[in-house]
Every structure is written in C-alpha cells, then in structure tokens.
Symmetry: C2
Subunit: 228 residues, 2 copies
DNA sequence: CGGCATCCGGGAAGATACTG
DNA sequence: CAGTATCTTCCCGGATGCCG
C-alpha cells in the first residue's frame, strides 16, 4: 500500500492538495482509463487491452501494479477450475466513478469532442449513467439489453431511476445488437433521424420503439465555445 | 483551437469517451494543477510557478500553450501602465472546478493522503469550498480574512452559504496571518486542540473565536482503507 | 493465450543556464 | 520577471521472448 511504489517519489507532486494526490494515483497515462474499464465489474488482462486500444502490455501491467499498490485495484484469482486472474476495483476504487462522470461531462463541452470516434462498451454504459436526464424520462419503467460481441449489458429505468450494468439480457423490452458507435450515434445524434439510424446499423429484437423513446432521455451538454 | 497542438496526435487517446478527451486536454503532467492555480482568478507566470513547486519554466510554458490551444486558458495583456501578461481561465475553464473538487474529495480518502505537506494558498481556499459542511455551519454569517505573504483572501458565510475568494480583507470578523499549512492544520486537525494550534502558529486580528467556530465547519472524509 | 520481463527508440519532463 | 535554450533523465510505446 505504499504510494512510493506507484510513482517514483521524485515524480510525485508532494502537495497536500487532494487533487494533486489524486493525480499521483490516477494521473499517469492510461491509469484513469483502466479504472474506467473496471467500473462495471472485474475484467481480465486481455479484456482490459481490448477496451483500451493503443495501450501496450507492459504499460498496462505497470498501471495495474500501481493502482493495486495505491489500493484502487484488487488482483484476484478466480477459484478452480477457472483459475484465471482478474482485476477488480476496491470499494474506494468504485467511488472514482464520480471523477469519470464529472470529467466526461466537462469534456463533452469541448469543441474538440468527437462522438464518432471508437468507444468501448463500458464507456457507453458510463455515458448513459452520466448523461441521463431524469426529467426527460419521467417516472416510468423500461429495460433494454445490449449485446456487443460477447459482452451483454442491461440498462433499466425503474421508477424513474436509471441503472446500467453488465448482465444477461433476459426479459428485456428490447435487445439491441450492433457496433457500440452505432448505439452512441442513435442516442446522442439528431433526434429527428433516430429511426433511420436504428434501421441501418442496429438489430433490435423486441420493441423497437422502446429504443426510440430511450434515445430521448440523453443529451450532450452544449458546447462551451464555438467550433473554430 | 486545434487540439492537435495540445498533444501530439499520436499521444492522444482517440476515444469518443468524454473522460478520455478530458485527459487529452488536462491529463498531462501539471496541467490540472495549473488550472487549480488559476481557479481563483488571473495570475502571472511567476505566481503560477510559486504555487506549483517543482514545475520547470519550460514545462509551464508548454502547458499554458496547450491549455490555451484547447480553449481552457486565455492569455491576456493587462492595459498600460501595468502592461503585464496574465493567464486566466475561460468560462469553460472555470467549470473544471467540479473536477478538482471531486478528485480532491476522492483522494482525501486515500491512506497516503498527508495533510501536512506544503499547500498553496489557492489549494487551501479550494479545499474550503470542497470540504465545507453546510449542516455544521448552519444558517449564519461570518467573514474571515486570510493573508499569506502578499496574497489576501476572504472567506464568507452568508445565510449558510460559503464563499472563498481573493479579495481585500476589509471589515472581516477576523484576519488570520501565518503559513498556509498552519491554517490547514487548524481547520483539518484534531478539533480538541484547535486553540493551542492557533496560538502557536497563527496571528489573529479580531475575533479569535470566529476562527475556532470556523474550524468546525470542515471535515475530511473518512479513510477508505486502513493505513498500512 | 494470458501475464509479465526485457531491450530499444523517441519524446516528454526536470534542471540549469541564458536572454530580452 | 518572463520566458527560451540546452542537456540529461526517465517514461511511454512497440517488439520480442519467457513461462505456465
């Protein structure tokens, strides 16, 4: 649990400011995105690499070591016969979700934000948690399943409260299959053409109209400055 | 306003996730702490260096250029006869205060948090904004002035709402002078010995008891894990 | 194949000295 | 005081290889 192991002492800020300490822990390249990928539950090394295009294996190893030393990540070996190593956030690590959400909301106002770039499934789910507008959903119920490759997620509105988690999409109102980016485009794109984008890029089993209604509950914040 | 200038394209995350974009903008070393130092108003180059012990001049120059290119920082020349260059946050830059607060609150729960380390005056003021507990203050009024070297600040409770800003400490209930770290120790240390610590390390002009009451309005969050 | 160590090239950060 | 120039150190990213 020594922070010395996380970053070489000389590389730390040595500042009583909490923000500076957070940067000592999470400020190195990829560290916060590793936390992001773990935010919806334990993952294996290879899963993490898949959600973090561009990270090299050695850097990922270093980050996991550092985050474990700081008490953010827990390394666990699944019981036999699985016997496979997984990485998981500590309870305190899960509390970092607020950081991810606030940063995401802030950056979405940047003129440089490009929602068409590649997106990991976890990022999409977290974006739902971040950009959900309770007033637009109202007091109601709905459940949607999403399948991206072999990962599945369930997003639920229950009594006006939204949850987005990993899980089997059993008994959902609609099950959506397709590229992550296509779902993002449906939810965050122009509301006027939602149906056309659904039909051209997604497969919906069940109530297609549920997805249309769902897409109206999310809104990106307005740009802070004019796009140059 | 091209983000290409901020970080070399190859060094960016190329991810539609808002958190990743925030890291493209604020994720390089010192960047977020530069924003922190600007959070209470415009500063000059030398002021920033003073609040960021350890930063080298060339890195600070690069960060200011990058943050300006991203639209976070505005570079302004004061009108004659001052005619000096100052750096200031854009309105969107000021909105990053939420990021600093959330990160600070999170990191304060780390077993590695050491409140006795050096602290900049701006960090202390932001910590007041972050750690203030309205329930403990109640619906009341108070104004305190702080002087650190030649920088002065006013912290006010008005109708139960706390503000902490740069300003002349005129007409305050008490004016506190001393090291930033000593004020932090008084506010965040053991409540039982507040008065002793005030007397030994601070100069209070006015109502000393106001500072004692003030110190009870702030509380660091509980540690998330046991200190190893 | 998953996890991790090792080596290397490029580039960012740190320290110091220098200039207008 | 406000940066710039230069040099060194070290981190990041990529490739390779080892081991279970």
């Amino acid at each position: 649990m020594k922070l010395e192991k996380v970053t070489d002492g000389r590389r730390r800020y040595h500042d009583a400011c909490g923000t500076a300490l957070a940067l000592d822990i999470l400020g190195e390249r990829w560290a916060m995105l590793v936390v992001r990928e773990l935010m919806l539950g334990p993952r294996r090394f290879g899963d993490l690499r898949a959600g973090l295009p561009g990270v090299s294996a050695n850097v990922l190893t270093q980050r996991l070591e550092g985050l474990e030393a700081a008490g953010v990540v827990i390394r666990r070996r699944l019981p036999p016969p699985a016997s496979v190593q997984v990485y998981e956030l500590s309870p305190w690590g899960y509390e970092a979700e607020d950081i991810l959400k606030v940063m995401g909301r802030w950056a979405a106002r940047s003129p440089d934000h490009d929602p068409t770039l590649p997106l990991s499934p976890v990022s999409l789910m977290l974006s739902f948690r971040t950009m959900f507008q309770p007033k637009k959903a109202g007091y109601g119920w709905m459940s949607l399943g999403f399948r991206f490759g072999d990962e599945t997620f369930v997003v639920q509105l229950a009594a006006g409260v939204l949850t987005a988690e990993r899980g089997a999409p059993d008994g959902v109102d609609a099950l959506i299959t397709g590229p992550v980016e296509a779902v993002a485009a449906v939810v965050y794109g122009d509301p006027a053409t939602v149906e056309a984008r659904i039909d051209e890029s997604l497969t919906v089993e069940g109530d297609r109209n549920a997805l249309v209604r769902f897409s109206r509950w999310f809104e990106l914040p307005p740009k802070a400055v004019a796009t140059a």
